[in-house]
């Protein structure tokens, strides 16, 4: 008689209050001062940025804070060519894994002021900060090559 029912849409909406915890809060507050605050493990000396309060290798609390960067090196990258919902930057653009100087784990961020096809592993980069100072990763607008390092 009428069309069969093949599917239903079940909307889920849940509201949370995300808590960054102590270590990540200090990292986020550091961004307001245009600093990258990491944590060093007292045992293996590994430096995490952002710190989580614990060393993933040794399983012990990471208490010592250290400033890292602000410059760093691209260790991996990919070029995004595909548009998707919620995209903030017009493709093509480069997303890179960036090892800040003095850190042992990389951050993930955009690399701009360079054409996407010129981004390479080993590229030296520095942050470009937003004018507004907020305890958010969005305080870093993107990374760009240091001193015109496009070669």
């Amino acid at each position: 008689m009428s069309d069969p029912v093949l599917g239903v849409v079940s909307p889920v909406r849940l509201e949370y209050t995300f808590s960054a915890g102590r270590a990540q809060s200090r990292f986020l507050r550091g961004l307001m001062e245009r600093r990258f605050v990491g944590q060093r493990c007292g045992k293996c000396q590994g430096v995490y940025v952002p710190g989580r309060g614990s060393c993933a290798i040794c399983g012990i609390a990471t208490d010592e804070e250290v400033d890292v960067g602000p410059q760093g090196t691209v260790t991996m990258f990919c070029i995004v060519n595909v548009p998707f919902a919620g995209q903030q930057v017009e493709p093509p653009y480069a997303c890179a894994s960036i090892m800040l100087d003095g850190a042992d784990v990389a951050l993930f961020h955009l690399v701009q002021e360079i054409s996407a096809n010129e981004v390479r592993t080993g590229l030296r980069v520095e942050p470009v900060w937003e004018n507004e100072r907020r305890p958010s990763m969005e305080s870093v607008r993107y990374f760009r090559p240091v001193g015109g390092d496009h070669a």
Binding site: P4, V9, R13, F18, S25
Partner: protein, 154 residues
């Protein structure tokens, strides 16, 4: 363990919304139940032992047998247990105080969860009869069945 002396600033918090509209395939049994709702009918499914399960399941929960024989059941039934929602929460079926109830429809052997628009808790009792209230516009969705209401009201 020793506490590290660190800045006494409170940890940062931020609102976080998890929102997603799952599109679920319903399969033939749930699909026919929902099509029934659209037609203003309530369907159950008959097990090999002759029990009628409402709302219908694909498999007999006792034996695991695949089930296929849909049967129409009554639009009224009996409350088997209930509670009172004095302050309805987001997404719930009614925005005024109502009862949640397990309702065994006439001709069914199991009970289903639904809201009962009873206006006051004193009107609710286990064993009371309630009947389905339908939406005028129906689309083949659980919300086609607006809620149940006490049967003595007419």
């Amino acid at each position: 363990m020793s506490e590290t002396p660190v800045a006494a600033e409170a940890a940062l918090t931020a609102p976080h919304v998890l929102e997603y509209a799952y599109t679920r395939s319903v399969g033939p049994v749930v699909g026919r139940f929902l099509a029934g709702l659209r037609a203003g009918k309530l369907l159950g499914i008959k097990t090999n032992a002759g029990r009628v399960i409402v709302p219908p399941l694909e498999y007999d929960p006792d034996t695991g047998d695949g089930l296929d024989e849909l049967v129409e059941v009554g639009q009224s039934g009996v409350v088997t247990t209930w509670t009172w929602a004095s302050e309805p929460r987001p997404h719930q079926p009614l925005d005024r105080p109502f009862a949640w109830a397990l309702i065994k429809l006439d001709g069914a052997d199991t009970a289903m969860l639904q809201a009962v628009d009873a206006s006051d808790e004193s009107r609710m009792a286990t064993g009371m009869r309630v009947r389905a209230r339908w939406r005028a516009e129906r689309k083949g969705d659980l919300s086609d069945l607006e809620c149940f209401e006490p049967e003595e009201e007419s």
